[in-house]
Structure formats: structure tokens, C-alpha cells
Symmetry: C2
Subunit: 436 residues, 2 copies
């Protein structure tokens, strides 16, 4: 088999066989197939697409390119959750404790990466003492003991995807549904859960800008999951404005704590209950989504979700007192405010601009391996639909580098759109795909 022939075959619009895809992924992972042939194939795929069978085979090859995690020593139906990424999305830190407190084991591996803020493990590290690495035995025993563990993803999960993603990033070959789907699903499948819930974000702050693309991505990933005999559900949710008020690392953990106390922003609370209800249902702990939702709401109301969060922090060597004392989090030296210049209603808060501003405060990485400022970020004081008057604070911007904050402020200003009439607003949950 010759890589040049495989590239030509795809260029001519023919489907690649399972063996050809495996040849490519195995050879590329080992470094036997060079980057320049891989990028030529990727670009041919941008034009000729992969059909669903090729996409499933690509997912399988990437999944098998490294370690796969065996979660079978964990009792119960393990449900994993994945978000395609947005601005202010701290739901893992809320949903994890809720569903664990309802009896669904959560054994989650999460990333760091580049982005508007750190990843879930970066956010967790803003809790003093919190550890996010442990060996598999420890990880499994923690889930069996308290129902919840979240650790950083090891480098051995789907290394082919890691290498290919880095290549796609610099060769204008990111935005293809099959490549995106197989990238996400190969890692989720390697991570070993029994059921998978996918939160596909849609809107200006998300990779998928419109509902049709987001729906297609959701459907493709659900289809892939089913091909691997995994219960898989996708929800398409709004990311036209940031989720909740807080965008940053410690800021988001604090907002997660508020939400677990029943005092969170409406949208974050609603989304967390929705995601929890599906996970509880997939985990076999409820007979319906409605019942799951009631269980989730009750776990917040009676404090069990918050208590599970504290257990989780303690189990990973963190200080659980952060749930009562926010001064324990890293503190920002500087804070500046952004004020409204007109009266009216907030019509839109461009999530992408807020995300970039957050990244530029120091809350997110610009390059791999960069240290991030865990205290930095943005707190929105107004959300879409709120009334504003001239001089009202729209957002506060905080961090340790004052210059960066001023630059971020300029980026934030254009993010807010103010109009005279009350706007209709976007529904938060747009679609659920994969539930029978």
C-alpha cells in the first residue's frame, strides 16, 4: 500500500477502505508517513468528504492508536460528558457532583489545551491543593468510593488524533464534520465509558456557528457512538452569549459552587439540570428524563450535590473550604470595569469576543504549555434581555497584568449590543439527538 495512492484515491472522490485508513493512521502515528502526505490527504478530505463508514473506521483507527481505558472495574453504568467548547462552560464541575450524588459514576478525563480559559483540569487547579493526575488504580478506586473523579488526560489516549489535530490546525483543515467527529469520538471511546453525552455548542462563541452544522455534527457523533455499541446522546445548546456570568478559571469554579448551592445563574442552572437529567437516565438511575431532572434538582436542594463536590475536592487533595470561603482562591491584583454608554436592553453579548478577551487577560493559553493566570477573567454583570442604563457596569475584568486587562476591555466593549426593545432571546436547549 502506498500513501500517494491513498491520497489520489480520495482526491478522485473514492471511499477509502478500512485497511487504507488503518494504514494511514498507524503509519502516521509511528512517523512512517510524513506530515506532508497527511496534510495532502486531509485537504483532499476537505473537498471530497468521508462517508459515514470511513468516518467510523477513522474513529476506530485513532481510538486504537494508543491506550484504551478499561473502566469495567467500576460498578454501574459509567457515563461520560463532552462539550465541544464554548465561553463560560463550567458544567462539568456542576454536573459531575450532581449525577454522582444520584448514583451515576463519573470517571472523567479532561483536557487542558488552548482556548478562552483553561480546561476543566486547569479550573480545578485553582482550588488550593487540588491534584489532577493519578494512576489508573487510584482513579478507579476513587470513583468506586465516592462516585466521581476528574483527572487530566494522559498523552497515550488517541495519540493519532493529537498529532493530526496539530497538523489540521496549521493547514486550514479543521472544519470538516468527519474529522471533527472522529477526533472527539476517538478520545471518548478510548476513555472507556459505557454511555456518552455530547454537548454540541452552537453560536458565535462556538466552533459551530449555525444550528444546521451543529445538528449535523451531533447526528454524526451519535451515529458513531451507536456503531461502537455505546449509548450516545447529543444536545445542541446555545453559545451565542457566554454561559453564566463568569469566564475564567477560579471565577468559573466559584460560579459552579454557587450553582451547586442553588444560587447559580439561570442559564447555567438550567443547562446543568438538563445535562444531569440525561446522564442520570443514561446511567439507568431514572426511568425518564423528567424523573432524572427531579432527582438532579433535589440533589441541589438538599445539599447532596454540594457535599459530593466537597468530597471530590478532598479526595483529590484539595481544600473543600473553598465552598465557604472564596478568599482561598487565587486573588487577582487588578480589576477594571466596563460601563454602558446608552440606555436599553442587552440584545447580544458576542461570546467569541468575550472569549478572546478572557484569553487575553491571561485566563487562557495562546500557546501550548503556557502558564495561565488562574485568577484572571471576566464577570458579566448583565446578560441578554437585561435592562441597562448609561453608567451601569456591564462587566468587570480582572487579573494580575493591568496592561492585559486594558487590552481585554477594548475587546469586550464591542461584544455588547444594546437595543431599545426587549429582545426575544435564544432558547438554551435547541435539540436533543439520540434519545429513543
Amino acid at each position: 500500500m502506498e500513501m500517494n495512492d491513498i491520497i489520489l484515491k480520495k482526491r478522485m472522490g473514492n471511499a477509502l477502505s478500512k485497511a487504507e485508513i488503518a494504514f494511514f493512521i498507524e503509519g502516521y502515528t509511528k512517523g512512517e508517513i510524513p506530515d506532508y502526505q497527511a496534510s495532502a490527504l486531509l485537504m483532499a478530505i476537505m473537498f471530497q468528504k468521508l462517508d459515514i463508514e470511513e468516518t467510523v473506521n477513522l474513529t476506530e483507527s485513532m481510538k486504537m492508536s494508543g491506550d484504551t481505558v478499561d473502566l469495567s472495574p467500576i460498578n454501574g453504568i459509567k457515563v461520560d460528558k463532552h462539550s465541544t467548547g464554548g465561553v463560560g462552560d463550567k458544567t462539568t464541575l456542576i454536573v459531575g457532583p450532581i449525577v454522582a450524588s444520584c448514583g451515576v459514576p463519573v470517571a472523567k478525563m479532561s483536557g487542558r489545551g488552548l482556548g478562552f480559559t483553561g480546561g476543566t483540569v486547569d479550573k480545578m487547579e485553582s482550588v488550593p491543593g487540588m491534584q489532577t493526575t493519578m494512576d489508573t488504580d487510584h482513579f478507579i478506586s476513587q470513583v468506586n468510593r465516592i462516585g466521581l473523579a476528574v483527572i487530566g488526560q494522559t498523552g497515550h489516549i488517541a495519540p493519532a488524533d493529537k498529532k493530526l489535530y496539530a497538523l489540521r490546525d496549521v493547514t486550514a483543515t479543521i472544519d470538516n464534520l468527519s474529522l471533527i467527529s472522529s477526533s472527539i469520538m476517538s478520545k471518548k471511546l478510548a476513555a472507556g465509558a459505557d454511555a456518552i453525552l455530547l454537548d454540541v455548542k452552537c453560536g458565535s462563541g462556538a466552533f459551530m456557528k449555525d444550528i444546521d452544522d451543529a445538528t449535523s455534527l451531533a447526528e454524526m457523533m451519535v451515529h458513531i457512538g451507536h456503531q461502537f455499541n455505546k449509548k450516545t446522546v447529543a444536545v445542541v445548546t446555545d453559545m451565542s452569549q457566554p454561559l453564566g456570568h463568569a469566564v475564567g478559571n477560579s471565577l468559573e469554579v466559584m460560579e459552579a459552587i454557587h450553582t451547586l448551592k442553588g444560587q447559580g445563574p439561570k442559564d447555567i442552572t438550567e443547562l446543568s439540570l438538563e445535562l444531569s437529567s440525561i446522564m442520570i437516565y443514561l446511567g439507568g438511575r431514572s426511568k425518564s428524563l423528567d424523573e432524572g431532572r427531579k432527582m438532579a434538582a433535589k440533589s441541589i436542594a438538599d445539599g447532596r450535590a454540594l457535599e459530593k463536590f466537597r468530597q471530590f475536592i478532598s479526595a483529590q487533595s484539595g481544600n473543600p473550604d473553598v465552598t465557604n470561603d472564596e478568599s482561598l482562591f487565587p486573588q487577582a491584583e487588578h480589576e477594571i470595569s466596563m460601563h454602558a454608554h446608552e440606555n436599553g436592553f442587552i440584545h447580544g453579548i458576542d461570546a467569541n469576543s468575550i472569549g478572546l478577551a478572557s484569553q487575553h487577560t491571561g485566563a487562557g493559553r495562546m500557546i501550548m504549555g503556557e502558564t495561565i493566570d488562574l485568577s484572571a477573567g471576566i464577570v458579566l454583570q448583565k446578560k441578554v434581555g437585561d435592562v441597562v442604563q448609561v453608567g451601569d457596569i456591564l462587566a468587570t475584568i480582572q487579573g494580575n497584568d493591568e496592561k492585559k486587562l486594558q487590552a481585554a476591555k477594548i475587546e469586550c466593549i464591542d461584544a455588547f449590543q444594546i437595543g431599545k426593545k426587549k429582545p426575544a432571546g435564544e432558547p438554551l436547549i435547541k435539540k436533543i439527538i439520540g434519545l429513543l
Copy 2:
């Protein structure tokens, strides 16, 4: 400027600016832009094409990526000839002496490369003592003295093209008209001639299999030449069967000598006269093609063309006695014959199969830098339209490695198609493009 943005721009179907193309070519030549970004762009070009302006700009950038040759110290209008490559094409060795003897200076740089046989400089080296490298001063003074010099191309002519071609070869991005045209024309333009004659081969033994593609390539190259203010003419010629009878290195030089003596095969003689007539006309030595053709024919008839060939050999330290004594050429140790198994007429001789068989005798390189067997190759005893009877020799295959010859024989057998009726045959000269 970011290479990723340039790739995306082309992927989306937009035209690249002159500055973007220059950024790519300069960065790629210097190694600042990696192969994997170049191959992604090349694949995007396969799908979205380059328009004529982009193609001209690409040609310009590649031309300027290395040295350009200044032929202005040579008196007269310098005319270069380029063949897109076929099987048995030894016309440079015939046309060069003819047109030089008619007063048109020929200062030619020629390649080696991979192929069915060696390149022109390899063929020349089958003449004992023949030198194919010299410095520019020597090269120019030889042309001024005898009107003709042919040397190997230096590595500094269009290095961007050299690097890109090697990449295209392994990423299934060869067959795009703009990439092919700019590759050829960048080298021709850097080589400094005043006028360019392009012989675009068409048929099974050529890169362009059909007349429409060959015509498009010819038209594009002529257009590029005109954009650079060079007189440029293209002829589209048949390559459905090999040219002449000899395919190899020394074998082809011998056939060139026969042709210069007026004893060459009909097709080689005809093509050489046609190409010579155009070069004489472009070189300002005739008022019409007809007059140029008569001058060319006369130079053969009165021995001036052969005498020019002998001068040329002597000037480059070769032994001119090869024109009288073929035993001076490298001799093959082995020769085997291939016989006809049926009676009839030769309907076709697949040039591609004969070319591959020739390569496999040792006459052509499989990998860069390989030594070739200058004595090896194939002599066709029959051509399309000839009558054959069972037992007639169709071809002889010669060289120094008997095993290779047996393998080549098997490849040759399928090349010959024999039918009952006399075939119509293909016209040799299909089109002439660029003559006003």
C-alpha cells in the same frame, strides 16, 4: 502574512495575490514554510485551480527563486526548445545541430531526472569523452563560436520548482495544468532564451493522454511566455507510439546521427524538420515556416547539420568519430528478440509500456542519482502500419543485465497490438499554437 490563511483562502476558492504567492514560494524555498503546509496548499489548488494571473505570478516567483541566466552576450535570437517528455524523443540532438547550422544560436540547459531513459545530457554522455558541465563563460563562448552548446542544468535554476516538484510527486498533486505550466515555464524563463518552442506530447506515452488536455497545457504555457514578453510557440505532437525506433541512451544518439545523415526514421525526421522550421523562424532566420523547413532539409542534405553535430561533440571534448563508427559507443553484452505470434498489421505500440520496459532494462533511472546503463534499451523493428508475419522480430532488447532484459521483454509483449486491416494511424503534428 500567515501560510494557514493563504491555504484557507485558496481552499475557499479565492484567488491569491501576487504578494501571497511570492510569500509562499520564497518561504518554501528558504525552508521557513514547511512541506506540510505546501502540500495542503497544492491539494487545495488541485480542487480550486489557479487562474491565469495566479499561474503567471507563480511562474515569476519560481523563476526568481534561484539564478537566472543572462544569455545577452550571445549574438542573435536565442531559441530554446522543451519537450514535455515521451518515449524515444531524441529531437534535441537532431534539431540543435540543424538550427545552429542555419544560424540560430542554441544555448541549452537540459536535465537528467527520472524517466524511461536518461535525459539529453545522459544520452550525450554515451559519446566517449563528452563533457556536460561547464561554467557560464565557457558555455556562452562555445555558443558564440559554433552556435550550439548543451549542458546539464545547474541546481540553482528555479530551486522552488525542484522542491515543489519533489513534493507534488509524493502527494498526488502532479496533474494540474497551472502547476505543470509554471514548473516548465519558470525553468525555461530562468534559462534566459529570447524565444521558446514547446513540444507538448500527447498520447499513451506522454503525461497528457488526450488532445484536449495537451492543447490546454500548450495554450497556457504560450500565454505565460507572452506575459513575459517571450516569443513562445507550442506544438502538440503524437506520443501514442514511441518516436523513431530506438529507445535508450546510446541507441538514441545513434538514431539521431542516422537522422542527421538523412537516413532516420520517417517520424523522427518529420518531427525534427517541423521543430527546426519553427525555431529557424522564431530565430529570425526565415520569413516563413516553409522557408525554415527548406533550410532545415537542406542542412541535412548537404551535410552541414551532421558537421555541426561533430563540431558540437568536439567542443565538449567528445569523440566525433562516433558519427562513422558505432562501435565507439558503450556496447551491450546481451540482446534478446521479441517475435510476432500472428500475421497482420501493427495497430498500436503502447508507448508507455515500451517506456517502462526501457527503464527496466537499465536505460532509465528508478530513483534519483542512480547510475544508468548507457548501452541498454529497446529497438523497435516494426512501427504502426507495418505488415508483420508470425516469427518476425518486433523488437530487440539489449543491455548488460540479462535478467532485466527478460523482465523488460514481458512488458514489451503486451505493447504491440496486431490487427487484420491496415490502420489509419495518428497524425504526428496535431496542433501548432502561438504562431501569428
